[in-house]
């Protein structure tokens, strides 16, 4: 095996000689090694099958092109084993070339990036030992319609081998196989949980099936209890995260002597994310307050940061970050409710950040004292690996004196990075709204209107009344045609910059676009080009 590391990545990449070797290695996925779980995936299998000379590849490519219907999204492989071109090229000469042929065909079809929803494997002399279906399930697990008609399948085992593989299979045709006379229909239906039609006969009530197999509450990325909360919270979050990335210590003015801040990590692996090495979390280990793991009262208390000084130290112990709320608002999700007992609000943010730099002041001195003799002299070995993370964060925010915000409680959970957050997947799937869904209040994000900056001379007494008009220091709104092209967060950025620069809408838009929708960059660009800005650019 040829093993190599990927630069700046926790991944190891290896090459083996044959598909069989790869199959053996991949079975080790999930095994524990060095206190962690090893995950192994086959990422590129082409070239290992023995049939893939350049000529064969071209032959298979043109065969696929002749059998793929883009309108129907169907790969029609009916009677391929009787195809004269394939036969004359010796692809079915032996059992070995036969099985390699289909594997290669599937890989090449996958590489062609064709959208395959239906596959017709009718009339291919498939018997109970044919590997075609298994290969298909490995390469095209999202097939919805499948015909296996007119083959020689007689055993249920042929289908049990691919149970849990075709999670979206909707229609299956098995007519013309010996198995249809053996009363296995019910068993086959059971093996494919989304199957609705078998040999033209409805076997499940599709509407009911969709209702049972879909989470009964529709997914909305954003929730704000009131429109006014939306204004305040959207502004609070975007300003807070931006300052967290760029001027973190300035945020301390939002915390009081009673404010509480704590963070925790959760390295649990959900989905297909690449496995992180054990030291990946080193930057968080010392201060992480996961109460599931920390049971002692003293430890629990020690990891809870109360008051500006302790919170400031905790802030400095955390890695430097870059959030992408402005550029990729779709990767973030927010719920905001009122928090009546303190006349404030409760904001929960879910999203991701890139770790851009090691902590300014790693919080490990205390740790070092106890285990000084044990530690390496090279501090870099103790540092965590910088990478992307997903996070959840809960803030309880109350109005402070003079119209500023104060943070009563701030909890941060740092998790393994997830490329595609669930709310984004749900949106792309166009989740149907089931009849049972609650009708009340569903609140989509609308235009972000600027609220008060967390601490600023223009801040108003923001939260107490939460009534229209109170939280709106920059009484401005964008023209509808401009607003329509922008995300709520972009709109908010525009309004904020308009408020600060006094530029008009068009020039602010230009400035934002040229600055990549980055507040900092926009500010610098404005200052550096101020002399050249024409008077009519201002409000």
């Amino acid at each position: 095996m040829n093993l190599r590391t990927e630069p700046n990545s926790p991944l190891l990449r290896a090459t083996v000689k044959s598909q069989r070797d790869a199959d053996v290695v991949v079975k080790l996925s999930g095994a524990r090694f060095a206190n962690d779980v090893v995950r192994i995936r086959i990422i590129d299998t082409i070239g290992g099958t023995g049939t893939n000379t350049p000529n064969t590849i071209d032959l298979l490519k043109s065969f696929i092109a002749s059998r793929y219907d883009a309108n129907l999204k169907m790969l029609n492989l009916e009677g391929m084993v009787h195809d004269q071109t394939l036969i004359s090229n010796g692809l079915f000469n032996t059992a070995s070339t036969n099985s390699k042929f289909f594997t290669a065909l599937m890989k090449i079809a996958l590489q062609q990036k064709i959208d395959v929803q239906s596959v017709n494997l009718a009339g291919n002399d498939m018997n109970d030992y044919s590997k075609y279906l298994t290969e298909l399930s490995l390469h095209f697990p999202k097939v919805k319609n499948l015909s296996l008609a007119n083959n020689k399948i007689s055993k249920l085992d042929f289908f049990t081998k691919v149970r849990n593989r075709f999670s979206l299979l909707r229609e299956l045709i098995i007519s013309g196989n010996p198995i249809v006379n053996m009363n296995f229909h019910a068993d086959i239906v059971k093996l494919f949980p989304r199957l609705v039609v078998l040999d033209g006969t409805p076997v499940r009530d599709e509407a009911k099936l969709n209702a049972i197999m879909t989470f009964p509450v529709p997914t909305a990325p954003m929730f704000f209890e009131t429109p006014d909360l939306q204004k305040v919270a959207t502004n609070f979050i975007s300003t807070y995260l931006q300052m967290w990335d760029n001027q973190r210590m300035d945020l301390l003015s939002l915390y009081t002597a009673e404010s509480q801040f704590s963070f925790m990590t959760d390295s649990i692996q959900i989905g297909e994310a690449a496995n992180a090495p054990a030291n990946s979390w080193n930057n968080y280990t010392f201060g992480s307050r996961n109460l599931k793991k920390i049971s002692g009262a003293k430890q629990r208390q020690a990891k809870l940061n109360i008051g500006q000084e302790a919170i400031g130290q905790a802030f400095q112990s955390l890695v430097q970050t870059k959030h992408t709320l402005q550029e990729h608002p779709e990767l973030y999700s927010v719920e905001t409710t009122t928090y009546p007992t303190l006349n404030g609000m409760h904001i929960v943010v879910h999203g991701e950040f890139e770790e851009t730099g090691q902590p300014q002041q790693p919080q490990q001195q205390g740790f070092q004292k106890g285990r000084g003799h044990y530690r390496s002299n090279n501090p870099s070995q103790q540092r965590g690996i910088l990478q992307k993370r997903s996070f959840d964060r809960s803030f309880v925010v109350v109005p402070g004196n003079g119209g500023s915000f104060l943070i009563v409680s701030d909890m941060l959970l740092v998790k393994v990075h997830n490329e595609a957050p669930a709310w984004k997947i749900a949106q792309s799937q166009g989740t149907p709204v089931p009849a049972a869904a609650p009708t009340a209040l569903a609140s989509a994000p609308a235009i972000g209107v600027p609220g008060a900056l967390p601490t600023g001379p223009t801040a108003t007494n923001a939260i107490p009344s939460l009534t229209p008009g109170v939280v709106n220091p920059v009484a401005a709104a964008l023209p509808p045609d401009v607003a329509a092209k922008l995300t709520p967060i972009q709109q908010e950025l525009i309004l904020k910059i308009m408020g600060e620069t006094k530029l008009n809408v068009q020039f602010t838009l230009m400035l934002c676009e040229q600055s990549g929708w980055n507040y900092e960059v926009a500010g610098q660009n404005f200052l550096s080009s101020r002399a050249q800005i024409p008077p009519n650019a201002f409000q």
Partner: protein
Amino acid sequence: MMQMQRQFNTSSNSQQDQDPTYKLEECLKLTFDSLDKPYTPTTNLDFYQASILPQLTQQPRIIINGTPFGSKPTFQQVWSKLPATQHQVSSFDCHLVPSSVPGANRQFIILVHLKVRFDEGGKNRLGDSADLLNVGQPSQNSGLPTRPAGPRPYSRWFGATVTIVADENIVLNSDGECISSFDYRITDAPENSVFII
């Protein structure tokens, strides 16, 4: 009375006295177990629904995947129609926040991360099924056991983050109505799942 009870309990439990979060893990387990509670056909449906998250107050904030619910019973009715679920708390943290109302109890703000999975066997927990064939009983000659093989066919794990606001008394009486806000957000969904959100 409640005040007396609190005093009694806290004074009888020195660990609780030292650490107000001491019993919280147990409370969370009870809370999430109630979301997974199976329905038995002999149970009265109203009674079953009322046993889902009984810790909610009478007028709670309930937000599931960004969608708010108008009332506790509405939420309980919708939840009772899910397939069987399994929740496992993976990590949690909490803060105990005082109230601005003199004499009022403090509140726990709890941030919980969990794994959750859903039964993909084709039935919801009330037993409703989309099957038109009698697929519950495999044929005699199938070679398959007449009960579904192995454990329930659960989906792969989803990831969820739940934020809870609860009265500090939750640690004294975890069945009491003390959760005033329950914000449940599925953040991670597995690929190729039969069950989708």
